[in-house]
């Protein structure tokens, strides 16, 4: 037997439970700049929202209304603000709100407000630990999402719990295993290792620097043409005031083409892992690095650096020709008569 099914009215203007509210149309001058041709649903919901804000009502139905608007326009920051204030005022269960946000965050990953709202909620609930798993899940949808990574960095720094930091290195290694060129993950690694205090077991800072250098060298050997890894390497050296020249043997392996006779018979030097066989050599980042070493050496190093910069300018990295020529000029000037 067929059932008669009527959809509930979608417009607030048709709903009896909103009949007590007088909708407030948006004020608009005769010739506004960049007016938006709103859908009927959006116009209806925001007409009621302006009325609610005017009356100051904070209630369960305001949560429904603001969710409706947010789903139509996640960048409506006033709807977010009013919703947050309402949640606190009526003492709504914030864990329920977080579950709703789990859904909206993945749907609107690139919307600033989604993440800002979540931060505000966390400063109330003060239960940061489950957030780490949530962030890991949402990174699956977009592994380099700036908001998601910023949120993780904020969470760690704001709550600064040992329990939060414990699994971070492992987490970031997992992310890098998934994509060795994920600069957000490399940045995060630098943040957790060098910029946020000392973790238990990491008290020996020289050992930490050795560990990080070994890690990044290994990564470069797998994929030499990865600017993220080279920037990380430079970052570790700068941070620990380690001279670039200590890496000369390592980088030299990457500045020349594969030799035809190279086979597995060579003894692998763990300090200086060689480039993987299928990698593209020479590697411009290694040539740049070696030139930096020569430049810092001064004297006879300058002509050697100049040769390398010329090879970058004319052959291996021609898009930055002007930059390499500038480096040559700068080096000659600072050593000039």
């Amino acid at each position: 037997m067929p059932t008669i099914h009527t959809d509930p009215p979608t417009l607030y203007a048709e709903r009896s439970d909103w009949a007590d509210v007088t909708p407030q149309a948006q004020y608009e001058n005769v010739n506004p700049l960049a007016p938006i041709f709103y859908t009927e649903e959006y116009k209806d919901a925001t007409d009621y929202f302006r009325a609610i804000v005017k009356s100051g009502e904070m209630s369960e139905r305001v949560l429904e209304l603001t969710e409706n608007i947010i789903r139509q326009n996640p960048a409506h920051y006033t709807a977010w603000q009013y919703r947050y204030k309402t949640l606190l005022t009526i003492k709504a269960p914030l864990d329920v709100e977080l579950r709703l946000m789990d859904e909206l965050a993945v749907k609107h990953l690139k919307t600033y407000q989604v993440w800002h709202h979540r931060r505000l909620l966390l400063t109330e609930t003060r239960k940061p630990v489950p957030e780490l798993a949530f962030i890991a899940r949402s990174l699956k949808a977009d592994e380099k999402n700036y908001h998601t990574w910023s949120y993780r960095q904020w969470l760690l720094a704001y709550f600064n719990d040992d329990e939060l930091w414990d699994g971070e290195l492992e987490f970031v290694e997992r992310m890098l295993k998934g994509d060795i060129r994920n600069n957000s993950a490399w940045h995060h690694r630098f943040f957790i290792v060098f910029q946020s205090g000392t973790r238990k077991g990491d008290e020996d800072r020289d050992e930490v620097v050795r560990r990080e250098l070994a890690y990044v060298k290994q990564s470069i050997s797998q994929a030499p043409n990865n600017a993220s890894a080279w920037n990380y390497l430079r970052g570790v050296l700068d941070h620990s005031h380690t001279p670039y020249s200590t890496l000369q043997l390592f980088v030299q392996l990457y500045t020349v083409p594969h030799s035809p006779g190279e086979t597995a018979v060579e003894v692998i030097d763990l300090e200086n892992p060689p480039p993987s066989k299928d990698s593209q050599l020479p590697c411009p980042a290694a040539i740049e690095f070696l030139a930096d070493i020569y430049e810092l050496e001064g004297g006879n190093g300058i002509p050697k650096a100049t040769e390398l910069w010329k090879s970058l300018a004319n052959e291996h990295d021609t898009i930055r020709k002007k930059y390499w020529e500038y480096r040559i000029r700068e080096a000659l000037q600072s050593t000039g008569p």
């Binding site: 004020y27 001058n29 506004p32 700049l33 960049a34 302006r50 700036y146 943040f191």
Partner: protein, 366 residues
Amino acid sequence: MSDEATLQLPLLARVGHAQHCKICLQGLPSSQVDVDSARLALAFYCLGSLDLLNSLESRTNDFERQDWREWIWEQHTQGRYGTGFKPSSYMTPSHNLDNYTEFDAPHMITTYTALLSLSILKDDFSRLDRPGLLKFLRACQKDDGSFYTEPGQGGDSDIRTTYCAFAISSMLDDWSGIDVDRAIPYITACRTYEGGYGQSPFCEAQGGTTYCALASLYLAPSSSPIRGEPLTAQQRRQTIRWLVHNQGQSGGFHGRTEKEADACYCFWCGASLELLGAKDLVTTSALASFLARCQFKFGGIAKSPGEHPDPYHTYLSLAAISIHPPGPDTTTSTSWNIKPLDALINTTKETAEWARSHIPGQKIKS
């Protein structure tokens, strides 16, 4: 070099790009509802594009420009946290002269774009509440030196808002609204090991936020200790290196290491290099050919080839061309001639001059 053929650039479709912006100024489809709370910023990108193309006078008439100025002044709003501009009337039920409420308040980024938009439209700024604007800036600054996008609670803050506060103060030629000494450590805390700046402390280096950081540092008033050269020689070298390496093989810039090129970063990174006095290091022919490929066949410029255009990427691409016009190694036409840009406050030099001579108002003679 003799073995290098000169590059033949396609035309810059000026008329199409102006048309794209003009259409957006006249109205946006419902699919763009997400700019509802940022309409004035979008209007700035449209007006700014027309300004860069030198098409404002030819493509808009006096009545339109008059109406637009009026509409922007409708967003000028006063209240307990001072005076500024709100993004649009999206929260305004009816026109009234009462003070704004907490949920219809002025917004820092909007205020910056409103001042520039009014300057493009050659407004005389006789209606600007200058003391109110200073009060607004004061109300937005946080203890950590950064700025809320809106005063009161609930607003967010990051280095983009810092830039807007600095640009507003600079245009006002009055720095009494902000505590520069407190703002600068926040900016320097955004610097990362790569040599760029992140959106807030601990965040990854990114082209747009690096521009905001550098422009703020270079805008800082002469009374501040960092004026002159805010970066050490070593920092400057490192930042230039990072910026230059963001130009990819396609000729376009990416905003973060190992990401894809995007037209807007041609401006954010390209302008940053200009601020550092290193604009000659950009390979302009490759940059222009990338931006040429980002042009949409029916007008407007997209973030990358094959994508849909928008006023934001259109404006920033044109601004990038203004700073880094195609060089002598390209065969090109006058279609690529864009008005010169003031890279510090991000508008044409002509408009910047208008802003700087009209926004400060009458100096009180002592």
